[in-house]
Symmetry: C2
Subunit: 314 residues, 2 copies
């Protein structure tokens, strides 16, 4: 029985194995993902992002528990920064999720930010698809909101939650428009801290400056204290409302088209490169080009155009 067949028959270990294969970029994972693909598209994908220290992991933990109470199976893809400067702390947080360790309705997978052939957002999409095919009703993708990679990851989700904390008060004017564009919901976590109201108010004001058409989703700003499980039910309700809006407005089709296009194009880019790079490595063309660059006699720009002319069909 193939890994994908085992996964479809409910084998959790097989799912974990395929995810490792995806990580290690093992070619057989492609055919497994291929077989799983027709069984995907059912899960509700939630993206959660925000600055380090905003309490995202705790929030994810509580949201997971809330969905479990509703009888939903929950998958979590946690992107763990392996950056030299932020490493460590997040790993500690992850341990908290252990309260779900013996719950078969929860499946947690951490992905390191380093070393993904084809990119992190591609690996994340693949892992989310495996969880979807496993029958997870909700798949939460958690990522630290820094850098283009993370923004791309958030775009995999149906509903994106941006987590803020009080005390960013004075800086909030400096916050770029980008944050307003990616969030479907905003949460001011650690709402017991000084300045929480002010942060929420300023965020609301900035959001109100956007122009909304009739029937558009207007991103709400919520307050939570994830540590004490305050505001979580309302948060889950609001995420569900957004999901319903997506479905009822038909917006979900546009979203799926966009996600499909991104997945296909990422695969295309990766496979084209692997194939052509492999061939020019084998036949010595690459070595020749690199020699030419070293002596500065051949520039890489025209070399690439020559390779294109040689390798692509007219």
């Amino acid at each position: 029985m193939s890994l994908s067949q085992s996964i479809l028959s409910g084998d959790i270990r097989a799912a974990a194995r395929l995810m490792r294969n995806i990580d290690d970029n093992i070619p057989s994972s492609r055919s497994d993902l291929q077989e799983l693909f027709p069984h995907t598209g059912k899960a509700f994908l939630i993206g959660i992002t925000g600055p380090p220290g905003a309490g995202k992991s705790t929030l994810v933990d509580q949201v997971t528990a809330a969905y479990r109470k509703r009888g939903k199976r929950v998958g979590v893809v946690a992107i763990d920064p392996t950056s030299p400067f932020t490493g460590g702390a997040i790993l500690g947080d992850r341990i908290r999720m252990n309260r779900h360790a013996n719950d078969e309705g929860v499946f947690i997978r951490s992905l390191a930010t380093r070393g993904h052939m084809g990119g992190l957002s591609r690996s994340t999409a693949d892992v989310a698809n495996v969880m979807d095919a496993m029958g997870m009703d909700v798949v939460i993708i958690e990522t630290v909101g820094v850098g283009q990679d993370e923004v791309d990851i958030v775009r995999l989700a149906h509903t994106t939650l941006v987590v803020m904390v009080p005390g960013m008060g004075d800086d909030i004017q400096a916050i770029k428009a980008g944050i307003l564009e990616i969030g479907d919901l905003f949460v001011v976590n650690k709402a017991d801290r000084d300045g929480a109201d002010r942060t929420a108010r300023e965020l609301s004001m900035m959001l109100e400056m956007n122009r909304y058409a009739e029937g558009d989703w207007r991103p709400p700003v919520l307050m939570t204290e994830a540590q004490r499980n305050v505001g979580i039910e309302e948060l889950v309700e609001t995420m569900e409302s957004h999901h319903h809006w997506l479905v009822n407005s038909g917006e979900i089709h546009r979203l799926h088209e966009e996600k499909n296009r991104a997945l296909f194009q990422t695969l295309l880019k990766e496979r084209l490169f692997a194939e052509v790079n492999g061939r020019i490595s084998d036949d010595g063309r690459l070595a020749e080009i690199l020699d030419g660059m070293l002596t500065r006699k051949q520039d890489p720009y025209s070399s690439v155009e020559r390779i294109l002319a040689e390798r692509l069909n007219a």
Copy 2:
């Protein structure tokens, strides 16, 4: 006269224009870069990275001044995070560099982290090449040390400087091995702060656990107070020592080979994708594939393989 010819004849505005063209991914920038390529390879490339708040911008400013005193022309490529969460602050720092604004021997270019077709590290490499061709003796690439993108950027440099600050003391055990691998030099900045000695000592201890062969470069740990211009001369001396070591040991050839390979492969990946994606968009194949994905009748993995079979020469 082409932009590249103007640049080679010393026209600063032409250089700025080409950098904007690179940013906007204007096709003509390719032929300009192509013409400049034979004139590159002379500059000493320094990468400076570290966590937000480590004082990197001030350090870059002081290092720039120190190189100017030595009569060197200095280019600075500053990667400005446009992340919603870190935006703003860095822009303020950049203003400090204004003291070099009327100095023709200094050329500063900020790159936003968002929106680079072909990737940020590709754009950074292109801009660094323009500065190299302009005759800048030293090109400093400054980036916030978070994420894979930033690590890739640092790999463009000959000498990589990692900036730390005191007070990371307790966390230092948690710092991943990655940081030890990327730094050729470590600086504990804000050395007047409590715990600076301890941070430097712990860093040294961790570095000593690496195994070095005879003749290997052993990354030193320096202390600076960039704000008060303390330790900058020694820092510049040490960077110069590293550069000499690269040249004398022959290591610089391996480094250039690696950089060339990375540049060529990034270009190859980008151009292959643009070409094939353009063709299947034009002839309707892409639309067909996306339709198949939407109904889950066609999976993207086998679709990509079919496109490869159709478009690549045997």
